[in-house]
């Protein structure tokens, strides 16, 4: 049974169909790519899976469980964590505090121990701190632990957000354009981190525009265009699919056409 199943998912905003009857399945242990031109509906699909967006129709199952019956803040407890297309970090907090936020749902003491800072709360805080520091070391940002987020380079912040997602201890990790806006050196570091995450047993679903990265990293790829699934398969299958070539290269054909007319 696949870990994540999306079936007949549709989202409309007024008369605009952002997603129309899309279906795909993510196998446990895979790195699954979700690609398509701008506005194809990739982020909308992500927002449905994390319950930030309620679909007009369709079903999403995670580990056999109906995700649409789960409240948005409970999604992470089931084992789904995500990163964001445009970094979503608390800018005035330190890097460490941001990563510790990822531990919110699982490293905790009873609520009333915090105002009085009782031993249980102190232990939970210390455990969070140590685990967050270990994660920062893993993503190579240990030296920034105490630095405020505002003012740090984009590539560092991408890794901090990745560490925060790992802190959630997810079974499924959703990455929204992990390589966008980073230098080529940082890009290979991120690729390495994604591979390590998969090797540690985390299933990855990623949206990414960098096609060569997707082709080299993903086991399975779903291609969206104008809110519909136009192809689904291994990188080789997808690469040679005429519908995909048309969606991606349509523009260039047009340019060629213009050239020949001229």
């Amino acid at each position: 049974m696949p870990l994540l199943e999306v079936e007949g998912l549709s989202v409309s905003f007024g008369g605009l169909h952002a997603l129309q009857d899309i279906r795909f399945a993510v196998a446990e242990g895979a790195i699954h790519g979700l690609i398509g031109p701008n506005g194809a509906g990739k982020t909308t699909a992500f927002n449905c899976i994390t319950r930030l967006q309620t679909p007009t129709a369709g079903a999403i199952r995670f580990g056999g469980k109906d995700l649409l019956k789960v409240a948005p803040h409970q999604v992470v407890r089931l084992g789904i964590a995500r990163t964001f297309q445009n970094l979503e970090l608390c800018r005035n907090q330190s890097v460490l505090e941001n990563v510790m936020l990822g531990l919110y749902h699982r490293v905790r003491a009873p609520h009333l121990t915090y105002p009085l800072f009782l031993p249980a709360a102190r232990r939970a805080e210390e455990a969070s701190r140590q685990e967050a520091l270990a994660l920062l070391e893993r993503v190579g940002c240990w030296e920034y632990a105490q630095a405020p987020v505002a003012g740090l380079p984009y590539g560092v912040l991408k890794r901090v957000e990745f560490a925060r997602a790992l802190a959630c201890k997810p079974r499924l990790l959703l990455l929204d354009e992990p390589a966008a806006g980073v230098t080529s050196g940082e890009r290979s570091a991120l690729v390495q981190l994604i591979r390590e995450a998969r090797d540690s047993g985390i299933t990855v679903l990623m949206v990414e525009h960098d096609i060569s990265l997707v082709m080299s990293l993903c086991d399975q790829i779903t291609v969206l265009d104008f809110g519909r699934v136009i192809a689904d398969g291994t990188p080789d299958e997808v690469q040679n699919d005429p519908a995909v070539i048309a969606a991606y290269l349509g523009l260039e054909e047009e340019v060629d056409g213009h050239a020949s007319v001229g």
Binding site: L52, H73, R91, Q93, Y104, A109, Y114, P115, A121
Partner: protein, 305 residues
């Protein structure tokens, strides 16, 4: 233990102050400043840390004041029981109000809390059999104004410690996440309803305790004591002190409570000067009195280099 050093010095000096500044009337005003400091620290948790707003926090002071007055007058409770009970009563009302109100954002939340702040004094006025109506209630006061000052100072120290414990640990991270990005908060497993409602209730607890202390300090409460003006003054205090800063809120409360007394001789001009002073601070210190320390450090560093 280093986190306790400066607060200990500050509270120690404040405790010695009645020996330097003498006189019952002055001690009464000093205690009043700290009463508003308690309410301001509580409101700051809501506004500065969690990014929500309350335009009617005076109403929670009123609820706390009446609760403690009634408990001491009619049930004969001692102050050390009636004051925390006043906080709990305000917190319960805050919880019940917050549950629906905090689903609203921005202007709508402001309006909902504003109506609350208007409604509670009206209810206190009409519900004469319990509240004494416009005549108010006269519960017993403290043994002396100096003892009142020390009591309020002790309560402030305790509540500042509680607030600081929250802010430096898991609940503080959750509240700041709610303020900075609700999407992140949700993705990290934070229930927005729970986070907002519980901080609203805690903030009401602070206001309720402050209202109770203020009531016993005056030895009197009536429906106009904690009205809309007080709600606005509290909000101004938090902004003037610096959003999110506990020492800032205390400094803000001391300043905002002191101003009317400082200018009380300039007949009719007191509130004008007070208003101008607040506008001046907001313009020249947009991050409040709390940023004054950093600013002065910066000036000294520039002068040194």
């Amino acid at each position: 233990m280093r986190r306790y050093l400066w607060p200990a010095v500050g509270f120690g000096l404040a405790a010695a102050l009645p020996f330097v500044i003498t006189g019952s009337y002055r001690h009464n005003i000093m205690a009043l400043m700290l009463v508003y400091a308690i309410a301001a620290v509580g409101l700051n948790l809501l506004v500065g840390i969690a990014g929500q707003i309350s335009m009617g926090h005076g109403a929670f002071m009123l609820i706390g004041g009446y609760t403690s007055a009634i408990l001491t007058l009619k049930a004969g409770l001692p102050l050390w029981l009636s004051i925390p009970a006043a906080g709990v009563a305000a917190a319960l009302v805050g919880f019940v109000l917050g549950l629906p109100a905090l689903r609203l954002h921005g202007h709508f939340l402001a309006l909902a809390t504003l109506s609350f702040g208007v409604a509670i004094p009206q209810i206190a006025m009409k519900w004469g059999s319990v509240t004494g109506g416009a005549m108010g209630l006269s519960p017993k006061g403290f043994a002396s104004d100096r003892i009142a000052y020390w009591t309020v100072l002790g309560v402030l120290a305790l509540l500042v410690w509680v607030a600081d414990n929250l802010l430096r640990s898991r609940p503080g991270r959750a509240l700041r996440a709610v303020r900075d990005s609700e999407v992140v908060a949700l993705s990290m497993g934070i229930s927005l309803v729970w986070a907002k409602t519980s901080i609203f209730a805690l903030s009401a607890f602070f206001a309720g305790v402050a209202g109770a202390l203020g009531t016993h300090l005056a030895g009197f409460i009536n429906p106009t004591d904690y009205n809309m003006l007080i709600s606005f003054q509290l909000l101004a205090t938090v902004v003037v002190g610096g959003l999110g800063s506990i020492p800032g809120s205390i400094a803000g409360a001391v300043l905002v409570t002191f101003l009317p007394f400082a200018f009380s001789r300039s007949k009719g001009w007191a509130s004008t000067i007070e208003g101008l002073a607040i506008i001046g601070i907001v313009i020249f210190l947009p991050y409040g009195l709390a940023s004054l320390v950093q600013k002065l450090r910066g000036v000294r560093r520039r002068a040194a280099s």
